[in-house]
Symmetry: D2
Subunit: 376 residues, 4 copies
């Protein structure tokens, strides 16, 4: 049996989620290759060693270059802050490594394009961590749409709202600094829902017009709370979009949306029915079918279960619930099996990551210039 | 005690709701004038007579001109199809009658302006039937916002979606014909949520950009189902808006939104909290306050009750429920008491009705011309 | 056209609801008799006169005996405190009047039996105000059950919980005094859900065992808050029941159930499906059908609309909402039309009211004696 | 660092969940001992070998006696069908092994008592897999109750309903056979909610009266579908209970409750507030506090997050969701850390398992004998 040897770079918030998913994936799924947790990098050798122990990696280093250069690493998993994605990915690609990067792929579409093209040229496989589409519930939504159960999709409404910066007294962090984060809530949160909209509608977004606002214009300096610093990117944004087939869409995003802890949601209206979902109830989907007996019409709450994609690997009883790390585990399954099989393609890959970056940049530009922009 | 003598023109869908509200208003509320159901017009004398009996009106006629000319009518209540609002209102105003008109005020902003200016000049009072803002639950939302409980409003998301034309086999009706309806779902449905957005945010909308689509481009001819007719106006529309104080807003509307029976809804995000509401659960409001203990934060479901505006007149126990006609009854109370008191102003009046028409026209134009339009 | 001349006794909480329903009923429904608001009694002539004006009654009196003796009164509507129901009803029956009484019919089953038998003997018609079964949504539940859509009912779970006495500092009121109220929450609240269980299951309850508790054993004396008085009846109760056909049921009731404002609810499980409902969302019913495609099973939220019983008389669009007084209006329609038609039977009548009282008494006794009791 | 060496017996439905939890636990939690997956038994050596590979165990056997006799096994994890729990546990205890058993502990209280007393005498530690109380959301409920936020608990309503046998055509399986399963839905499902009621109320149940029914009296023979077999135990049951402090409770359970996939739920009413929960939305808790401003009272929906017990180990953002296996992972953490620390006690242990069995038996007996039974 083939082996896939992973080199993980970064062990913060999302790196830890990767580690949990790596840990459970071989038990949850029948993997087509052996998953080997080979090498782990952090910013100091000490932290790296500690995390390697915690996460079950064989070796560790305080220097990420060691990982991308290591002959025993097949795939480099990038969980660093966004601004490092590009440099690490390009180095890994240059060494012929497959790359699994967290989203957003890069700080802007130009960088994303360079990364995507480098991977194409090198012939390595890539995967971007848009994990929410791996949730069995959203896979079910996709299945319902593809089977035509709600007819032709005529409208997509999606949000990714959270409230992690709702309090104006929260000090400035890297999310608010262009050099570190690029865009604000568009890059951090909307990337997910925009990618998901393309996945679910089954069409690329072809034109956009956005509006956005930095509502809290200054925040305390984290190093000296008595000083205020400028917030450099948007707190909230809306975009009207059109998909390639003409379907209308609306995207909303905010990092100051009081009360939204995991406010990724969608309402997808078709000619024959409607789907409604929020990630805060990640194991249920609401489905309305217009051809039902008119006196018995209504939204049905479907609890995700073993008859839906991938769920049965976690539990064979419906409604028993899946969690955030479980969808990451599906992503790891896709990674390992995709790398095990030479002809398989990973999805969503750097090309998709680039497309999303391009849309995000276009939304920001269209908001500044107050005009529709075509994506091309 | 003063009397207010009503002349009702039109007894279809909404006219009947007026009649029910007239019937119960004097029992529900302490009215400041005696409500007298004086005169009723329908398209034939026979129908008028029958409806007068059913609705408890003193006299009836097959000619609406009789009502606007009658010396014993103080206020003319217009419940006709939209395209007749203007002619009837202008005739009533010319005779010095107060006018209570259903929404949308007119087929376009120009007509609405003529009506508003005529009323101003004549010094008569006017009221437009934007009844959803009279619901005690939405009045509670207004109160929460005005008291600053959710801080400064930074985002308004509102919808008015229904599915009465979702089935493509539903024959063409007057809603789809420009000459009869003017705009499509924008005029029929979005008028409500746009007016409500101004009421709740407490600011006028100052710029808009819309997008819209006639999804079902042809429908069967109602007189010959084997023939197809063009649908002349939009089935769905979205608009991004900015209020006078810069607050962002998004409005969505559709008459083909499968599953939405009364899909008027709003999510209002402030710097300190969030309100969420749907008219399909018209007696509950969801409220989130960000300053709650972080380990006990969450959206609270408030059931409307006697401590909230106007509810106690219907029932003195909370959570016992209010219905569609009840909010119309509040509107009738506003009408009668506003007319009883010479210095009182009715709200929302023709000026507000005109403002809404102007916004609707701007959204449609901005969609065609693909550009932001300022309202002025 | 026949006339039904009403004599109303009592204008407090529920009397006022009757008045609102009387006001709107003739406009909402095609009544088969003319409804005449003839005579109104209150505890003083002044209050009676004021309320008669407010509610639109022709005449008034400070003496309820005047109403039951009046030759121009066809039906006596009893909205007094519970302990007066019996005396008034018997006097009205003795005079050959039809009687419309609020629930609970009497303070105990013995009294209820006397009332029921007197009415039977006199051949007058009777109606008890179990208004919640008149709600179109609950009528829909009944229709679904009767059509066999959920198969044979195998379990009924019902509650009527409120929190009007949840605060231990709320002074003692008449609800807590045996002489005035009889039972506590059983008589005040559970009467509704027990009657509703028989209506929906379509079977009488045949055996019961209850448990109950006076949680707050003393309350401040309303006349001297520094003194404490004993609470004389139960704050909360549960009963296991069996219906005539063997179907299991559970009833729960509380007047100290924090957070429940109108907590009448039911879950009805059948061999083929399940219905779930709460009166706090009185215009929606949840329906699950087990024969649905297993991958698309789920509870459907049906918004009550014009295709469901009686709704269309209030509004011809689905999901537009019905309120508490609307279900009372359906009850008034049943009253008037039932009296207009000599052969019609009113439902639920004094016989049903007696049956409910008998069940309530049996539950209380079974709780004291800690044993199952058959209803016979 | 100490090691805990696990011997797993049984790899079906729940055994697989254990395996997933073992896999992720060391990454999710800082364990106080090293978890070693040492030995695995299944009914054949081949199946055992395959599962050992899949689950990451060192060794395997087709004979469970090998596991309980193995000197390198510290704790025996019993995931076999219920009827084998006793024999395996007693053998393990006899060898001085700690025992971790799935629920229900035994087929009846007598057997459970023997097991509990054997473990006590041998001085080994025990844990029973009542995993639902390990869910961070239910731990939060416990915390809220213990802090007195809802005052004194006055009522507990709990259910564990599922529909896995709702279809009468589903053939008889071991759940329906007394010799294999003991009780029906009481043992299979109600065990969970009864144990949870004691955990949350913080009191043991002291008296019970039950009612129960085998609704579907015969099912097809799984070996010959044309033949029907008797169902030997109850499909649904209800019990009224009293806790040691007098608090009232109601328990309902069914395996034929159409639409319930994971219908474990509770409503806990206190003198100052109420908690409401359903396992189908396992990451949200509804909380009502009666002392809130009366005009702002309502149930708050709290999304479980890092400020609540144990959640932060899975994810540091609120509302991101936890799944079924995550609560099992908390249970594994309790097991390992409890065994690592010589003075620690595991909970819920065999004593608790015995108490639950005793309550279940009492409910069944009380239903047969139609009388209240004290637990002693």
């Amino acid at each position: 049996m083939k082996k896939v040897r992973v080199g993980l770079i970064g062990t913060g918030y999302i790196g830890r989620c990767h580690a949990i998913a790596y840990a459970q994936a071989p038990t949850v799924f029948p993997l087509e290759a052996e998953l080997q947790l080979e090498y782990l990098a952090e910013i100091t050798p000490e932290l790296a060693a500690q995390k390697a122990k915690e996460f079950g990696f064989n070796r560790s280093t305080g220097n990420w270059q060691d990982v991308v250069n290591d002959p025993n690493v097949d795939v480099v998993d990038i969980c660093t802050p966004n601004f490092l994605h590009k440099e690490i990915a390009l180095a890994a690609i240059a060494n012929g490594k497959h790359v699994y990067s967290e989203k957003p792929l890069a700080l802007n579409a130009n960088d994303a394009k360079i990364m995507y093209e480098a991977a194409e040229k090198a012939g390595v496989k890539t995967l971007v961590g848009f994990n929410y589409i791996k949730n069995p519930t959203t896979q079910l939504a996709k299945e319902i749409i593809e089977k035509g159960e709600i007819g032709e999709v005529v409208h997509f409404y999606g949000t990714h709202n959270e409230d992690y910066l709702a309090n104006p007294n929260t000090p400035l962090d890297w999310h608010c600094v262009k050099e570190k984060a690029g865009l604000g809530t568009l890059g951090d949160l909307a990337a997910h829902i925009i990618q998901m909209s393309q996945y679910l509608v089954g069409q690329d977004i072809k034109s956009v017009i956005g509006d956005m606002e930095t509502v809290i214009k200054q925040r305390p300096n984290p190093n000296d709370l008595s000083q205020m610093c400028d917030v450099e990117n948007e707190d909230q944004a809306t975009a009207m979009v059109r998909f390639a087939n003409g379907c209308m869409g609306t995207i909303e995003t905010s990092r100051i949306a009081c009360g939204r802890k995991m406010g990724l949601s969608y309402v997808i209206t078709g000619t024959k029915g409607t789907i409604s979902y929020t990630q805060e109830r990640m194991a249920e989907l609401k489905l309305y079918i217009h051809s039902d007996d008119p006196a018995r019409q209504g939204f049905k709450t479907i609890l995700t279960g073993p008859l839906h994609p991938d769920y049965k690997h976690f539990c064979v009883s419906a409604g028993h619930g899946i969690g955030f790390n479980d969808q990451k585990t599906v992503e790891i399954r896709d990674l390992i099996n995709g790398l095990a099989n030479p002809t398989a393609k990973l999805y969503p890959d750097f090309e998709e990551g680039f497309k999303i970056s391009r849309i995000l940049d276009a939304i920001a530009l269209s908001a500044e210039e107050k005009r529709w922009i075509d994506i091309c």
